[in-house]
């Protein structure tokens, strides 16, 4: 075979963390793909009766979108080496995601209070399961956010790089995208 040392090049110019997070996103996508598949399969059975989607979910969706905007703001700050802007963006994103998660739990209580119990209909079960699974992954992102923010405020300069903030942002944009697809599915079926 060809006997010269080929040039060493990182895969598609990505760094370790990026590969890790992007593959992780692929895995999470598969997870949600299966749950939506199961949802679409199960809804054809005769005992399915759809859940009324609480209007609170629209508010929550806006919050999640604003969190994404906050992350984008933070990244542009990091690019311009504007640390103040980076920190403000991070803070905005964190606040809105916390509001999103609390909003989701509120929506569950609302549904439960109006008699749509988890086990009374498969549509209800799926609603709780899908939103919970998504919220679970958002909370995972929140943990990462917490670690990054803590280190930023401790003055760790590596965390103020566009790569670090950008990668965290990518995950949050991705969570917004997943939510968009799930929410669209929940309100249209």
């Amino acid at each position: 075979m060809n006997n010269y040392p080929a040039s060493e090049k990182a895969f598609l110019g990505l760094n370790h963390a990026q590969v890790f997070v992007y593959v992780l996103m692929t895995v999470i996508s598969i997870l949600f793909l299966f749950i939506t598949n199961a949802y679409l399969f199960r809804m054809n059975f005769q005992d399915w009766s759809p859940v009324p989607i609480p209007s609170l979910l629209w508010f929550n969706t806006v919050c999640l979108a604003l969190a994404s905007v906050g992350m984008a703001w933070s990244k542009s700050g990091a690019k311009a080496a504007d640390h103040q802007k980076t920190k403000v963006g991070l803070a905005i994103a964190g606040v809105f995601v916390i509001v999103f998660v609390s909003g989701q739990t509120w929506a569950w209580q609302e549904l439960n209070a109006s008699g749509y119990f988890l086990s009374s209909n498969p549509a209800n079960t799926f609603f709780y399961l899908i939103t919970a699974l998504h919220a679970f992954h958002v909370i995972g992102g929140l943990v990462a956010w917490f670690i990054v923010t803590l280190r930023v405020f401790k003055g760790d300069a590596t965390m103020l790089q566009p790569e670090s903030v950008g990668l965290l942002g990518a995950y949050w944009h991705y969570m917004l995208l997943v939510w968009g697809v799930l929410f669209a599915m929940l309100i249209t079926t």
């Binding site: 060493e8 990182a10 890790f20 598969i30 299966f34 399969f41 498969p122 399961l129």
Partner: protein
């Protein structure tokens, strides 16, 4: 050289302090690999013990009063789950993957050593949860390793009254998290951390195999996770994802409307790639071993890689061949039979390339080579019977009979385990710096090879007869002759002998650790990088000051013009003598 505080190529090395950091909560891939191997072998021994209990009942019905029908089915279930997931998946990917990826690719460690450590401890936790289910009231679940609902969540199923099924599902969920952590690590390391000159098409085939098996796992395990979560919901919260109207114990239960077949789709969407998650690393080990010990370059490297990629791709569209008679839409059978038989073509190519590697070779009949050749025979046998079961109509009389038991044990128990043993004998010197005892190795080989063939080969024929699998006893059936009971006795005796022979391996492992001959640095004369380290066994950081540079593919055996019959990957052209 002060290893412990070194910073290499701008990457800070993990720096173990004291005994706990070095041997327990270690982030060194070699230690983690050993931890995986030890835990997997320990739980694997448990699985083997369970299989012997089953064999005792089948060979000598009623001899042991404690093996009643319920506990028999619990043994069947736990044996299957332990062997497939907790032994083979963990050992191949967690053990071999962890040890070989950084060494063979010429890097210092995994891309994320800390995540790697977490992966092992999550795996350990999942094993603990699994073992815990033996000690809860009414024991582990006895729903069959496929965990088909409604059976798996109903009370009255063996082990179904207690927490057995919950612990099983929880353990699987933890295992999946562990696997995902490990898997992301392997993918990142393979894509990012290869030594200079190590292009993708210069990676040893075993790395390709582990890489693709990891991808399969990452994409397939979420299906099982979704299924497991929904099962837990159905069991604990009495939802009806999979539960239709059920009449049991004289009353209609509080379920309704669900579909048991939905679970089967989710399970086998995971379950079939899982077969390849186990098979691909075994393929990889064989590819390495056959080339090294036959002193010949592997035949058709490019074709091998593309065949692997084809297998990994098609593996995702064959799952329903486990469900031909499961009550799904029967017209799906046409599609899945076709895809299943298509996957036979790249698999056959791999077999051809292994045997063609032997042509005009210089074959050393070492212990690893014996395992390798035995693998070829058993894999050929098991693979060919797969063509019966994949071929929809042929599957009808044979499915759920002993033919199936014979087939899948031959192809995904005996074959991978032979590859596994070959791999252990081959890499033991690299891990410990000592050689295993050859005579003991050969005794162990012969008993294992002949014994397992005698155990599983006759099963195909009682499958022709129509003896169903998962029967606690056959006594009530007139169509099953007495000769089947005699055969069962024979198989049980063989199984006991083979089971006992595995302790030869363990004995060899332990004794050779202290008394084995000191291994030369590259005892088999292999080209791959794990044998070219500065020290043997490789120290922390693997490569000393300088990372290796790769100049050639990993199978440079018998290169014309060279004096030696092999040229390691890190030797440039000008240094070939």
């Amino acid at each position: 050289m002060d290893q412990n505080s070194a910073t290499y190529e701008g990457q800070k090395m993990y720096d173990p302090k004291g005994w706990w950091d070095t041997y327990v909560f270690s982030q060194d891939h070699k230690v983690i690999a050993l931890q995986y191997v030890c835990v997997a072998l320990a739980i694997g021994l448990t699985g083997m013990f369970l299989s012997l209990l089953m064999r005792m009942q089948l060979g000598f019905p009623g001899l042991f009063e404690s093996i009643d029908a319920g506990s028999y089915y619990q043994d069947v279930t736990m044996h299957g789950m332990i062997m497939v997931i907790y032994l083979l998946t963990a050992l191949f990917l967690g053990g071999f993957g962890n040890y070989l990826i950084p060494l063979m690719l010429g890097c210092r460690d995994m891309a994320f050593p800390f995540v790697n450590m977490l992966s092992f401890w999550m795996y350990f936790l999942s094993v603990i949860i699994l073992v815990a289910s033996f000690f809860v009231e009414s024991g582990p679940t006895g729903a069959g390793w496929t965990l088909y609902p409604p059976q798996s969540i109903l009370e009255g199923t063996p082990g179904g009254d207690g927490a057995g099924i919950i612990l099983m599902l929880a353990s699987l969920a933890v295992f999946i998290i562990a696997f995902t952590m490990g898997g992301l690590n392997y993918i990142t390391t393979v894509l990012q951390s290869r030594a200079k000159g190590m292009t993708l098409m210069r990676m040893p085939l075993i790395i390709w195999c582990i890489f693709l098996a990891t991808f399969l796992g990452l994409l397939a395990f979420p299906a099982l996770l979704v299924g497991a979560i929904m099962l837990i919901f159905d069991r604990v919260l009495e939802t009806s994802f999979f539960m239709p109207e059920i009449f049991k114990g004289g009353e209609v239960l509080d379920y309704g409307g669900g579909s048991p077949v939905l679970f089967q789709h989710l399970f086998w969407f995971f379950g079939h790639p899982e077969v390849y998650i186990i098979a691909l690393p075994a393929f990889g080990i064989i590819s390495e071993l056959i080339s090294v010990h036959a002193r010949k370059n592997i035949f058709g490297y490019n074709m091998m890689v593309w065949a692997l990629i084809a297998i990994a791709g098609i593996a995702f569209i064959v799952w329903a061949h486990h469900m031909y008679v499961a009550g799904m839409n029967p017209y799906l059978g046409f599609f899945f039979a076709t895809t299943t038989l298509i996957i036979a073509v790249p698999t056959a190519i791999k077999v051809y390339n292994w045997v063609l590697t032997l042509w005009n070779a210089n074959i050393k009949m070492t212990v690893p080579m014996l395992y390798c050749l035995a693998f070829l025979v058993t894999f050929l046998n098991g693979g060919l019977t797969g063509l019966f079961l994949g071929n929809v109509a042929v599957d009808v009389p044979l499915s759920d009979t002993y033919f199936v038991v014979g087939h899948f044990h031959m192809v995904m128990a005996v074959s991978p385990v032979l590859a596994l043993y070959g791999g252990l004998y081959h890499w033991y010197p690299s891990v410990t710096g000592r050689m295993l005892n050859d005579t003991l190795g050969k005794i162990h080989f012969w008993i294992t090879f002949i014994g397992t063939y005698l155990i599983y080969f006759p099963m195909h024929y009682i499958g022709f007869l129509g003896v169903p699998r998962r029967y606690y006893s056959n006594e009530q059936y007139d169509f099953i002759p007495q000769s089947v009971a005699d055969l069962n006795q024979f198989i049980t005796v063989c199984a006991l002998i083979v089971g006992a022979a595995q302790f030869i391996l363990l004995y060899n492992f332990v004794v050779s650790l202290y008394k084995g001959a000191i291994a030369p640095k590259n005892p088999w004369g292999a080209c791959t990088l794990e044998w070219q380290t500065l020290e043997s066994p490789p120290g922390h950081g693997n490569w000393g000051e300088q990372l290796p540079v790769v100049y050639r593919w990993p199978y440079e055996y018998g290169l014309p013009g060279a004096t030696s019959d092999f040229v390691p990957q890190n030797v440039p052209d000008e240094q070939i003598t």
